[in-house]
């Protein structure tokens, strides 16, 4: 201990720092336009790439370098998209696909979190399920669709099962990893206060593993969409995937791409909603 008699000053709190990014030295003072560009650089560059790709697509199609019957064109896709969205078939398709997807995602999230928490927390549970999870996860699950059709028939149930099989693994694995990487000193701290197992999960394990869990759900959204579309291709009677499959068989490339755009939009919306949730739970990080 160093000698500092009658020290009464309290330590000052550290300055609150910006949550992301770092300071980059620039070689000359920045003009307002340069500053504006720099702030939105990622948006500007990303959008430029998209526009260039669309233009190239349009050019390839208009100049008939490639047969437009197979590739369609951005304008035709836009037209097909507008027609499809306003048709009565769209509402039915979107509803069916969304239902299958959300039920499957809900089931896989619920089951995946429970199994992931158990496997992360208990060594024996982890050992017990380890091989099964690894084997099924590394197998090409798309190939299981015929088996699922055998079990569940043509229709919604096969779709839900497929989404579940696709989406449950990222949730399980991420949750498990999240629990395993919880700071052991926090667990010990909680134990020193004689917490129950439920309290341990509620106040330490789940909040600490939450970022990983949400990352797992985000991956699950992506692979779950693949699952629902593939199931509708092979075993659907209705839905966006089914309509796309029909369009492909009829050489309606524009209709096919329109379906693709809608499914992408679906995934984007779901991911953005999840990001809002992440921000809500992570507000202590940026406070």
């Amino acid at each position: 201990m160093s000698t500092l008699p009658n020290q009464t000053t309290k330590e000052a709190p550290p300055a609150v720092k910006a949550p992301v990014g770092r300071d980059l030295a620039v070689d000359s003072p920045m003009s307002p336009w340069q500053l504006r560009y720099r702030r939105h650089e990622s948006t500007i560059l990303g959008t430029t790439c998209l526009i260039l790709a669309l233009v190239a697509w349009q050019v390839v199609s208009d100049t008939k370098i490639v047969n437009p019957l197979f590739v369609s064109s951005p304008t035709n896709v836009a037209k097909a998209l507008a027609d499809y969205v306003t048709s009565e078939g769209f509402a039915k398709d979107a509803k069916a696909t969304a239902f299958t997807f959300l039920i499957g995602l809900g089931l896989s999230t619920g089951a995946g979190i429970l199994l992931g928490l158990a496997m992360g927390w208990s060594r024996r549970t982890r050992y017990f399920f380890n091989y099964l999870v690894s084997i099924v996860y590394s197998s090409p699950r798309i190939a299981i669709v015929p088996v699922l059709i055998l079990w569940f028939g043509i229709g919604r149930e096969t779709g839900i099962a497929m989404v579940f099989l696709m989406a449950v693994f990222p949730v399980v694995i991420n949750t498990m990893t999240g629990v395993q990487t919880v700071d052991p000193s926090l667990v010990e701290m909680a134990r020193s206060f004689k917490v129950s197992r439920f309290q341990m999960f509620r106040t330490v394990i789940v909040p600490a593993a939450l970022p990983q869990m949400l990352a797992g759900i985000r991956l699950a959204i992506g692979v779950g969409l693949v699952g629902v579309v593939v199931a509708e291709f092979l075993a659907g009677t209705v839905g966006l995937g089914y309509t796309m499959q029909t369009a492909a068989q009829n050489f309606e490339a524009a209709q096919l791409f329109a379906g693709l755009v809608i499914i992408s939009a679906f995934g984007l919306i779901a991911t953005q909603l999840l990001r809002l949730l992440e921000r809500h739970f992570e507000r202590w990080r940026t406070a």
Partner: protein, 293 residues
């Protein structure tokens, strides 16, 4: 270095106090309070998963902590003092002997014992006030009672202005105060401190030490402090239990620190007996370290 060269003539009374302390039947403290912690021939060992080997951390420990006293447990690094503290708090099992907190046998984590960790171990997603109230919340203290006790505690440790901040917005010293407050607010029979000031800078450490003594004057809290800092032990504690070097630590010596428990740190440091006590303890530690177990 040996202990003798650090024993000037005026430390005669220390030695007599020491002698009294070493005879087992002597009264353990000036205060007439009952014993809050009784350690009787306790041994601790564990299996190291990393090394695949068995380690006997503590061979045989026996000492007591009287009510309202602050006992420092000091020993060379690797002597198992932190491990022992975890056994007292019920986080680790012990192999032999008896550990009694408030005259009841330690069988697992208990709500009348609170641990102040070496690192702040605050939950980063809870505000400071909710971190301090964590133990009370887990013990089911009603919200109203909890909030008023947390409020009073934050005033005591000087965190009242930071109630709604998150831990990462606090300096290391303030995080450590919150760590202390979280344990204190449960009003434990025994407060266990595991090198609580080792992770902060020297200036903050001195300041927090003074704070600890002030809080102790205000609360009359019984404390067991694990440390490897000689000066910290002398300046904060009423008596000192010295452990031998591990593995298989035993109590090398127990002695009182007659600097006046309510004296401020500056006064204690200026006391002529301070230097000799420090020297005596250094000597003990040096010889404890050279003992082959």
């Amino acid at each position: 270095m040996t202990s003798d060269q650090y024993l000037p003539s005026e430390s005669g009374e220390i030695m007599s106090a020491l002698a009294a302390r070493q005879s087992k039947e002597a009264p353990v403290s000036r205060s007439a309070h009952e014993t809050k912690l009784e350690v009787d021939d306790v041994a601790i060992g564990y299996y190291s998963e990393r090394q695949g080997s068995y380690f006997q951390a503590v061979q045989s420990l026996s000492f007591t902590v009287p009510g309202e006293s602050l006992v420092a447990l000091i020993g060379p690094s690797g002597c198992g003092k932190s491990t022992f503290l975890r056994a007292v708090s019920g986080l680790l099992p012990y192999q032999r002997g008896r550990l009694l907190v408030d005259n009841s046998l330690v069988k697992g984590p208990r709500s009348d014992c609170a641990l102040v960790f070496q690192s702040p171990t605050l939950l980063p997603w809870r505000t400071v006030s909710r971190n301090i109230g964590y133990g009370l919340e887990m013990q089911g203290t009603p919200k109203g009672v909890r909030e008023s006790r947390v409020h009073d505690m934050m005033n005591l440790v000087g965190l009242e202005a930071f109630a709604d901040r998150y831990p990462r917005q606090l300096s290391g010293g303030m995080q450590q105060r919150a760590n202390l407050a979280r344990a204190l607010v449960t009003e434990p029979v025994l407060l266990l401190l595991d090198e609580p000031f080792s992770a902060v800078d020297a200036q903050t450490r001195d300041h927090l030490g003074e704070e600890l003594l002030r809080i102790r004057r205000a609360t009359r809290q019984t404390m067991l402090l694990v440390t490897h800092q000689v000066e910290e032990a002398i300046l904060l504690a009423d008596s000192c239990v010295v452990l031998s070097k591990g593995p298989g630590s035993v109590v090398a010596e127990i002695f009182d620190i007659p600097l006046g428990r309510d004296q401020p740190i500056v006064e204690k440091r200026a006391d002529p007996r301070f230097a000799s006590l420090v020297g005596h303890l250094r000597g003990l530690l040096a010889s404890a370290s050279s003992v082959e177990a």
